[in-house]
């Protein structure tokens, strides 16, 4: 499903060049629930971004569903992101000008879905993360954990084949964290959704199929 071959990523600023990823090889078969762990700054988010086609590797080859990705601005890639990928950002990235339910509808906005159906699916997704009572709030009126759950609802609303989750339980108490894990596990089991999750929590990682550890931009296991 996801194939990374010899991926390197470096960030260049005026003064220094940071190697965020070095010669990374990773393949995630369809239907797998994979977790990624590693110390802060080791390149976990960078790796997830590259898998989610929102960052280009400096070197190496990315293939999704058997097709190599080349043009990151094309409408084909946009379509792929829309239909196949659901992203949960580490810092949520909700749109503050839009209400919670409008935020959750976002991925459906770029599909042929009627407004009514969009609203229904969004409310359903909010229900799953236990936030239907906040549908008409705005992101600035939510707590960190609530924002995180909105971000999760947005990622699952379009039933993508792949969910990329950057510390989806990082801001939640253990009870809420378990619930989110349940949701993800169920998506994985019932719909066969491929899930790649970055986490700092060994307990969460244990619930997944496989664990990949990173250190300084390299795979250590």
């Amino acid at each position: 499903m996801i194939e990374l071959q010899n991926i390197s990523k470096s960030y260049r600023t005026d003064t220094i060049e940071t190697l965020a990823l070095q010669h990374m090889n990773l393949s995630v078969p369809a239907g797998e629930f994979l977790s990624i762990m590693g110390p802060s700054g080791c390149g976990k988010s960078t790796l997830l971004n590259i898998m989610g086609l929102i960052d280009e590797p400096t070197e190496g080859r990315v293939a999704l569903a058997g097709k190599e990705v080349t043009n990151y601005n094309g409408s084909k890639v946009a379509r792929f992101r829309n239909e196949q990928l659901g992203f949960i950002f580490q810092s949520f990235h909700l749109i503050n000008d839009l209400s919670v339910v409008d935020n959750v509808e976002l991925p459906l906005l770029y599909r042929r879905v009627s407004g009514k159906e969009r609203r229904r699916l969004a409310l359903e997704a909010l229900e799953r993360v236990g936030l239907s009572n906040r549908a008409n709030h705005f992101p600035t009126q939510l707590s960190g954990g609530q924002k995180q759950r909105v971000a999760i609802a947005r990622a699952i609303v379009g039933r993508p084949n792949i969910i990329l989750a950057d510390e989806p339980t990082g801001n939640l108490d253990s009870h809420m964290g378990d619930e989110i894990m349940d949701i993800l596990t169920r998506l994985n089991q019932e719909l066969g959704t491929t899930i790649v999750m970055v986490t700092h929590d060994e307990r969460m990682a244990k619930k997944t199929h496989r664990l990949v550890r990173l250190s300084d931009g390299e795979r250590v296991s």
């Binding site: 960052d55 990151y72 946009a78 992101r81 990235h93 000008d97 976002l106």
Partner: protein, 443 residues
Amino acid sequence: MIKNYLTLALKVLRRKPFYTFISLFGISFTLMILMLVTSMGDALFGAHKPVSDLDQLVYTPFIERYTEFYDTTYTVDTIVMDDGALRFDSLQSVEPNGSMNNSNGPMSFHFLDEHMRDFENVDSYTFFSDASHIDAYLDGRKVSLNTYYADAGYWQVFDFDFIHGLPFGPDDVEQGNKVAVITDRAARNYFGEVSAAVVGSEMELGSERFRVVGIVERPLIDDRTVRGDIFLPVTTIDNRQYTSTEMYGPFQAVFKATAPGKRESIKQQIEFLADNFEMPPESDYENIRFRPGTYVEIFAGSTVMENDYDKAKLMLFIPVAVLLFLFLALPLLNLINLNISRVYERKSEIAVRKAFGADSRDILYQFIFENLVLTFIGGLIGLALAVLVIKYVNANDLLGIVRLSFSVQNFFYFLLVILLFGLFSGLLPAYRMSRTNIGTALR
């Protein structure tokens, strides 16, 4: 899809009341000013009845007599020849020294009659006087009337709207018939009504009686050539004035060219007349000139007191244009600035949308729609403002008798200009943003 963009735009604009307010203010204010200025420009310089053929008219309001003074300079070069003899080379030059005696004013009927009847490329022309006031009496009540003495050509050059009756014709002028054309306002003031019954009634003007032959609509424009309350045949003016052989008198001439392009030819013929004019020997002056001009030229010349009309137009219109430009540039620049910063401010929103499947086109459409919605609402407000201000100006006679009108065509034209400004200012940054890397934008 369009509905999506539209509702999205409305949502975002509602969430940013301050930005929305400033943008709407900029758009509607700019529109209103543009509408007001063009409406005033049209009222002042546009063709309106009874001066519908404004672009064919050449005005000759006065004659100027002048004598230029010259300095004569002798230059003598002295050269010493080989044999020691001196040789002289002398040069005499005569140049105007800038000082001059002159006097100007409107002309006598006799002068116009004698010299200005046979120009080419003239469709029609008129000699008339706008300088008299006559007190009319009715039942001991006095009504003061601004009186024009005109020939029959006056009614051809100017296309007054006759409410009742007809203009006086060449026969009336030739025979000195005591007939009058009056405006509706004069009719109301004197007869108390504007009706067909007024035609044929007599008016007591000074010591004479005139029969009304026509009632015209009073022109609501600020043009000195058509601002009379009452128009009488030129032959009924004080006989001394009619027959005076002086150059000066109360008359001026207006020529209607056969086409706008022929006005230049008429001006040249008038200038030719001046250049070849033989001054009576007893005159205090050596030359004459007329300074014929179009309506705009005469207006500019008299406003900035400059006889060179090309210069006058520049002196008048460049400052006006610069002021107008500055006045409009401020809200427009503000709009552009707002638009650009707004796009950059929404960098992460754009990146998030792309991460969830929006392509560059979706992003562009979204910004286009936001702009369209803003311009549309701003346009509506601007429309309302412009209509209100114009109504207010007209209702309170803020521009004297001049009436402003609302041009739908101009309105849509300006709306389009503002839309283009908005699109260019918002689209270019939006386009660039839509192509930036999502990952970097979301740091």
